[in-house]
Amino acid sequence: MAGVYVAGVGFTKIAEHWDRDLEHLMAEAAIKAVEDAGVSSVNAIYVGCALSEPLQGQMNLGALMAECAGLVGAPALRMEAAEASGAAALYAGFCDVASGRSEAVLVVGGEKLSDGLSEEVSSGMMMSGRSWYEGFMGADFYALNALLYRLYSKRYGEEGIPFFPVISHEHAEGVSHAQYPFKISLDRVLESPFIADPLRMLEVSGIGDGAAAVILVNEDLARRLSSPKARIYISSATDYVNPFDREDPLRLQSVLLAVNKVLEQARASRSEISMIELHDATSILAALCLESGGFSPPGEAGKLAMKGEFSLSGRLPCNTFGGLKARGHPFGATALYQVAEIYLQLAERAGKNQLDNPRVGLTLSLSGVGAAAFASLLKKE
């Protein structure tokens, strides 16, 4: 398989963008990425977005994006994998370049969740489960997470799980594109009201609008461009959609498979990974990602978090710009923020959040509670 490289990235601040529409948020990110990479054109556009139909009454985002980004003529299509839609678009764009069909592609994702009430966003997220079963019962994303949290606490105890949001917020402090760029204490997390017991309000990501984009290029073009490059690999796997149909709901097999496959693709080992962007849509999912991916023994992720292992100065820094919890989680854009942030780290452009000479970064993006998992790995060139 031919090499694929990230040659540039762009993104907007995650906020409530009342004055912007979805396609122009994405166009802003796209144009920034095109300029960052220094490419003059792209062969194709891949768009990630989950909820544009229920929230904006809009489909056909491919053609809309091409027009708003000044790229009319390029083939453009939209990929959907619920909250991991950005990763689905990345997967498609990667395959396009790796196959030799395209020299350069634009992958852009966006979501404008603040166009809906929080009830409408919850309802939208519920569509990542089976609509006629979990959806019919009102077992929404938070309810499923809460049940997993209960099973986890019964088996291992909940020690340290509520600490994941504390880490993410600590890393987001002062980050200009983060939705919540401030610290919160463990006490504040523990004192926040339940959203679905035992899951607390400050253990779940908020509702925001944002867009992020990356330019993927082939080896030839990578050599000719002057921007910093990172070699990228991506893999994905699925699992039974309802977590309680799985042999062990606390082991996300999709995460394990996706991580194993991407490591194999990149001929890398877990010990080479300098940092991870986790899918911390909830605190419990952050822990399950680390444990299922083989980065923490089962039942230990929270304890390791309390010891500082996943902080900027720790053994395996996670969510170096705040993750889904504090940077923000606009579904279709989220995985592309993750890739952009790893790229900034590898290019030594991470400002005050810069890690010391990182070489390899991993991103994990999930739909639902692990119905699908996408793992991408970036290596410094």
Partner: protein, 124 residues
């Protein structure tokens, strides 16, 4: 969906996997042979949560409880819980199925019914 009304579904003849929908192939072993069964209407509560920030279809009924239930044959299902005092929702509490109004759907306001579980009235 017979599952939502009678807990009826399809069991794979080869590997025993239960499907709460009519499958084309078995989700575990890809076999095409199934036996139609009805699950037992009682079991025990494994875990529960109270949904306090509801999706829009359930805004009128929130807060409401969702339980993970292990039926007497070992099948695990998700259900809304009803007719309970919160102190009855202990680990392992016996629960039984009842037929209830679930939600009012869409602009036409169709009232949808299905199973919910409640603390068992009789010790079984």
């Amino acid at each position: 969906m017979p599952f939502l009304y009678r807990l009826a579904g399809w069991k794979c003849v080869h590997c025993g996997a239960f499907h709460n929908y009519k499958p084309v192939v078995c989700k575990r072993c890809r076999s095409r042979e199934f036996a139609q069964i009805e699950l037992p209407a009682s079991g025990r509560l494994i875990a529960y949560t109270i949904v306090r920030s509801p999706p829009k279809e359930f805004a009128q009924v929130a807060p409401y409880a969702i339980g993970l239930i292990e039926l007497d044959d070992g099948t695990r299902i998700i259900s809304q819980l009803t007719d309970f005092r919160e102190d009855e929702l202990r680990d392992g509490a016996r629960v039984e199925a009842v037929f209830r109004r679930i939600r009012v759907n869409g602009d036409q306001g169709i009232i949808e019914y299905g199973y919910k579980f409640r603390p068992a009235l009789r010790r079984s």
